[in-house]
Symmetry: C2
Subunit: 316 residues, 2 copies
């Protein structure tokens, strides 16, 4: 099942089921928003299944009609689960490895997720505008203390995320130990939230085993595979739920997708490519994004199951 | 004006205005929840004023009827604005000062704020259960880039918060640079959200110039004054809004209230008292909280304008 949110309606948009070709939609009887369906998951199943059938011959829509699946969420916790990314950053910046044997995770802003084709406003280019291509999951209600073995049962949807980052601010905030506020403004999300069964064999061991392809201004930038997570999403959920319950609609991110074979598969953020350049040449060659840059993200070899993020960076 | 939220009703409770003695309430016509009133602030003023008058002879309620003013919020950003607290922690733990000339702030979990008389569940005593007495503000909509000079106009309410913290986990998470997830579970909030005018002269330069009194198991623990913030709430709001807009209902915290005169006024968290003991005696003497401990917080010399937080710590 693939669900999406149209921009029409209130602040949380209007929930729809999406046809297999991603071009047609149908509303979900009794559930105006994705959050409402998540809050009442078991009871919503019949209405969702009916809508999924109706969507095949439903209303034709265009990519610009879609909001983020959850235009706002009660919680966004972003991991950093790709060991290759951490290693490259530590090598390039001559930093000691982060001392922890637990998953890395920060609490991010969740009151706004940007629609997949909307412009993305930033205050200034000098902040070092960067993208991060990530996979994420949307959970149901997760009780405090949920173990990793039970956590996969709480995954309702898989999503594709661009975690926009401001690199001139990030290391300053990181050094305080308090995590990121200014360096992590609102994320963008691809239009379709898909149930794990849609991914078939590509959903394995709590990982999205698909390439995540990034283009910048129409040029290939990278297509590393989500399979390389050091921790699966079930382990990230258990980490998050150690001392809190997670409400339905919690979004958990993988961190920027990164593979050891970065010479052939590239990266999903500028910062990592710059780190690779620093290691190879002593200095970065790639610049951060100027206003007007176009960034697209999709997943898989053929049609992206999550649809496409296709946006421009704008002066905010 | 003092507003509160009764537990009755849906997940976000029921908005009420509160009488001057804090014992009577009246509903607000057209606004079922505090978030709804915040989202429609200017238009809600007449209904709020009418409810405030009606509350003086309204329905009698007991402290147990109150939820947190916002039982969940779209954003919770907690500062650490008391320089004395930072200095004590650095001295006790022999840490270098945090390198920043900006306010310290982290993004905290906002999907749950615990009612002021409810038990507070934690997974285990060994995590080092601690409280932090803080003042906070609830904002209206704040545009990205809002400057400190304009920020005070966006303060809708002032609140009193207990920012529960797990001290065995906090330094581990802090060292990663990613901030806190497990170490910062849900906060508790005193029942009454008050408009700044209620505080009279005690609301000065974006600071709550009142003592915040903490008792543990009925014993005085501290009553430092909120006036000593190194940054006022207007500066914290501007810091938060540097690269994002803040939605109505954003809660911004002061960090644990702390004064240089800690020998006479005490502290508002165990961790700080332990740091003082470490500096004086080489080792802490005060333990973190066992299950069953009672923690109360109030503000001011007489009746607390925010009402009282009075809770027990429980096995979760």
């Amino acid at each position: 099942m693939r669900l999406a949110t149209l921009k029409r309606g209130g602040r949380d948009g209007t929930l729809v089921a999406v046809s297999d070709d991603g071009a047609r939609v149908a509303p979900v009887a009794g559930y105006a928003t994705l959050q409402a369906a998540l809050d009442d998951w078991d009871a919503a199943q019949d209405a969702l299944a009916n809508a999924a059938r109706a969507a095949q011959s439903g209303e034709a829509v265009s990519p610009q009609d879609f909001a983020a699946p959850l235009p706002r969420a009660w919680q966004w916790l972003d991991g950093s689960a790709f060991a290759n990314h951490a290693k490259l950053m530590e090598t390039a910046f001559n930093m000691p490895p982060i001392e922890t044997d637990l998953p890395l995770m920060y609490q991010g802003m969740s009151h706004q997720f940007i629609a997949p084709t909307d412009d993305v406003p930033f205050p200034r280019e000098a902040d070092g505008i960067d993208f991060e291509g990530e996979f994420g999951v949307i959970t149901g209600d997760v009780p405090m203390g949920c173990c990793a073995a039970d956590a996969l049962d709480h995954v309702r949807f898989v999503v594709l995320i661009n975690d926009w980052s401001l690199r001139a601010i990030a290391p300053v905030e990181m050094k305080t130990g308090f995590g990121w506020v200014q360096a992590k403004p609102a994320c963008s999300v691809a239009p379709f939230a898909v149930t794990p069964d849609v991914l078939g064999d590509a959903w394995r061991d709590g990982r999205v085993c698909l390439p995540l392809t990034v283009e910048v201004d129409g040029e290939w930038f990278g297509h590393p595979n989500g399979a390389a997570m050091a921790y699966g999403f079930h382990e990230l959920i258990a980490h998050a739920a150690r001392s809190r319950s997670l409400p339905a609609g919690t979004i958990i991110g993988s961190g920027t997708v990164s593979n050891a074979e970065h010479e052939t598969v590239g990266s999903t953020c500028l910062s990592e490519r710059r780190a690779i350049e620093m290691i190879a040449h002593g200095a970065p060659k790639t610049s951060f994004l100027p206003f007007g840059s176009r960034v697209t993200m999709r997943a898989g070899e053929g049609d992206s199951p999550f649809g496409v993020i296709d946006q421009r960076v704008a002066a905010g």
